[in-house]
């Protein structure tokens, strides 16, 4: 309600800011990206399987847990080529670690690396991230589950060791999203888990009241869990101490970023069936909720959080997908940061409202023109020709019905529900608007998308896309755009800061544009993008300035070469 009350004023201000900070002549040059589906050619011949359940409620539970198709990008062997970890969810089905061979092909090495497991009879793999929790320079792997998570330590030489038992990460939860970031700036990456259901084991259901108690304002979800990295190979649950213990929503995604430019990482929590939450970091190990002032409360179905400065005004904005279809008009939300502690939703005005049944969304500059585009995947369930909604309606409108009781929900059977939806590619026009060109650029597939990861598989400065799909095969889109702009790509290595450099703010000036990027630790539903900072700089053949603010607070200014991949170490500058 608060949001609606001030939207008029804020919208005018937002549009003014969006236009005002875009220098004349710096608009999109008219280039468009182009992608090829090279999945099979690349050797990625797998498909995801959603978990099946036994018993009379099995069909409904499967419908409610039809995620789990995740991808995480990381260079686990530090060979300069980013690799892929991709999850499955069915019992006994392996996860996959695709080693990048450097020639646009991949080899699944999960079994020999020791990271294929996780889908046991009492656990469902749901998400994964790479993060170097012990700062040894080797990316470690966290596999999130409906169950207990698995922490794999990277031993080097392509081998991993399950260190969960000694890590403290042994508590059961129905985790659907996880990000790594250093919330207390102590140099070690912490973990924020987004939990969908409360911590009950759905695979051995004892009480049927496990579903949302309200479909627009549910209060019986799993909330979030914040684990602080002790720096000694273990984690402590500091959720309540940090002020995050009161979230009771059905968290589907969590995202972090420095929303108020004070050097501290803040949090956005996207919840299904009810309001999202915004928390600012107090800098003392705690957060304060500012939702009411920042965005207002909402009743939507928050599915994804990605954070980026879409209009190059120096402030991080937030994109949240919701459900927008013929029967439900919940626009996605593009929260434009006004810099005064408030955000205004400009999704309709800039053209990124209609995503279908949205899942992951990721900003990236795919044509290197200096403006970040937006790729969104969608679709819940593509099955038979019958639609689930007419079957669902009588239940929804039954007076006094208890939505939380799984017995009250009709089976979906072979019916579709918001299926066969075309993916959206919103091309940033550089004038505070986007144009949807998914068909033109070749990414408008109709699979049941879940996760997105941005990757540069061949280090050519043109960003590629991995799309995961529920119960279907993933897609690897190779960026084959011609006539793209010049680019800068950085690998950050913290020393006093966390080794991954997550949370580092990079500001680049070139061609009359000032852009910022902040390296995130897994923002976006079911997908972690590469640990590199990428800038497109259009026709500029040099950069004017590049400034890094490390999480430690150290600020460094560099000159870096363009059109090549550069490693930068905190305190040492360019290292190769």
């Amino acid at each position: 309600m608060v949001r609606r009350a001030r939207i008029g004023l804020h919208l005018a201000l937002a549009v003014w800011m969006g236009l005002g900070f875009s220098p004349a002549g710096a608009e999109n040059s008219g280039t468009q990206p182009k992608f090829d589906d090279i999945t099979a050619r690349a050797g990625i011949k797998i498909r995801h399987h959603t978990r099946t359940y036994s018993g009379k409620n099995g069909d409904v539970l499967r419908m409610f847990t039809s995620g789990g198709a995740a991808v995480a990008v990381g260079d686990y062997d530090n060979d300069g080529y980013d690799d892929l970890f991709m999850t499955d969810s069915e019992v006994g089905k392996p996860n996959h670690l695709f080693h990048n061979n450097g020639d646009l092909t991949f080899t699944d090495v999960a079994e020999q690396a020791g990271v294929a497991g996780g889908n046991d009879p009492s656990s469902i793999v749901s998400d994964a991230i790479w993060f170097d929790y012990d700062n040894d320079g080797l990316p470690d792997l966290l596999v999130a589950r409906f169950g207990t998570p698995i922490l794999y330590h990277n031993e080097g030489h392509g081998k991993f060791r399950d260190v969960t038992a000694g890590s403290g990460l042994t508590r059961f939860g129905n985790t659907i999203a996880v990000i790594a970031f250093d919330f207390d700036n102590d140099g070690y990456l912490d973990l924020l888990f987004g939990n969908y259901f409360q911590p009950v084991n759905l695979l051995s259901l004892k009480d049927p009241h496990v579903l949302p108690n309200n479909l627009d304002g549910a209060t019986n979800g799993g909330g979030v869990t914040l684990w602080r990295n002790t720096g000694h190979g273990s984690f402590q649950d500091v959720t309540k101490k940090a002020g995050l213990g009161k979230i009771t929503g059905w968290t589907l995604d969590v995202g972090h970023g420095d929303f108020n430019n004070n050097g501290l990482q803040d949090i956005y929590v996207a919840c299904d069936f009810g309001t999202d939450h915004v928390f600012l970091n107090n800098g003392d190990g705690t957060f304060r909720e500012v939702t009411e002032k920042a965005t207002g409360w909402d009743t939507k179905k928050g599915m994804n959080v990605d954070v980026a400065d879409y209009n190059n005004d120096g402030l991080l904005d937030i994109y949240v997908t919701n459900i927008y279809d013929d029967y439900m008009k919940e626009c996605a939300m593009l929260w434009q940061n006004l810099g005064d502690g408030t955000f205004v939703d400009v999704s309709s005005d800039v053209g990124v409202c209609d995503t279908g049944w949205g899942w992951a969304a990721k900003f990236a500059d795919f044509d290197n023109d200096g403006w970040q585009d937006l790729f969104v995947v969608n679709g819940l369930r593509s099955a038979g020709s019958d639609n689930y909604l007419p079957v669902l309606l009588p239940m929804l409108t039954t007076p006094g019905i208890d939505f939380s009781d799984v017995n009250n929900w009709p089976d979906i059977g072979d019916r579709s529900w918001s299926g066969y939806q075309r993916k959206r590619f919103f091309h940033n026009q550089g004038n505070a608007t986007f144009q949807e060109i998914g068909a033109t650029v070749g990414v408008n597939n109709d699979r049941d998308g879940r996760g997105i990861a941005i990757i540069d598989i061949d280090n050519d400065g043109r960003l590629d896309i991995v799309q995961t799909n529920a119960n279907q095969a993933p897609i690897l889109y190779h960026n084959v755009s011609g006539n793209v702009g010049n680019w800068v790509e950085l690998k950050l290595m913290g020393t006093k800061s966390n080794r991954d450099g997550i949370g580092a703010r990079v500001q680049l000036q070139a061609g009359g544009l000032t852009q910022i990027r902040e390296l995130d630790g897994g923002n976006g539903y079911a997908g972690q993008s590469m640990h590199r900072v990428h800038f497109g700089i259009g026709a500029s053949n040099k950069i004017d300035a590049l400034r890094i603010r490390w999480p430690s607070g150290r600020v460094e200014i560099f000159d870096v070469p363009i059109n090549t991949f550069t490693s930068v170490q905190e305190g040492s500058g360019i290292v190769k």
């Binding site: 309600m1 009743t299 013929d326 029967y327 309606l393 929804l396």
Partner: protein
Amino acid sequence: MRKLKSVLLVMIAATTVSMASPAADANFRDAMSAVQANDLGKAMHCLELAIADDPENVRYASEYRQVAIRSKDFDRSIDYFSKLVANHPRSANLHLNYGFAYVDKIPAAGSITQVILANNALGEFTKAVEIYPNWIALYTRGASYLFWPKIFNKAPLGVADLEKALALQKRGPTKPYYVRTYIALGDGYCKTEQMERAKEIWKEGLSKFPNDSRLKDRLALHGDQLVTLIENNFDPNKRVDTDLREIWLDARE
């Protein structure tokens, strides 16, 4: 019989002015004074008293809901009508306003709640039609069907109601608000993929209401532009005008 129904419609509307009890009328005047003073709580209280005294008064109930919209006290309005229809189950006017009270809350609700509210409203509109199938009941229910997403296939039901409403209104003198039927029926034809019939009914409407911009806009557009114009009118996040002022103003004239 048909003529009698049309007369009754006018009589219902006319009660807003001529048949109010003195107590109800006094409460209504107090309510309007409270509205002027922006004391919406008092206004709602006084209107509740007025409606309780005169449940068939279209104006009292309509004004009450408009105050509820201003004060965002939708649940109070719903609760009030819920209790009142329990005491007056044969009052078409109360069922109609009870349905409108649900409709009034829709833009302020979440998307799933919107479906529930719309379904509840439809139930009340149906009761109103069953009790007294006059123009306003048929028009209201017919129009409400058109808000439902295509997958639920309710638009044909809306067209059927609106055709009956149109037939009723043609039997008596033209009222300014009758233009709504032409607009909605054309929209219904559009939603049921009968574009030619849509154009015909809008043209017929324009011949009777030559200055209506809504009809002109529809007749001026084609294809996707026309569909977009129509669909925008059925966005559940936009407030539907449920103010029945036109009816009692017409009755007073």
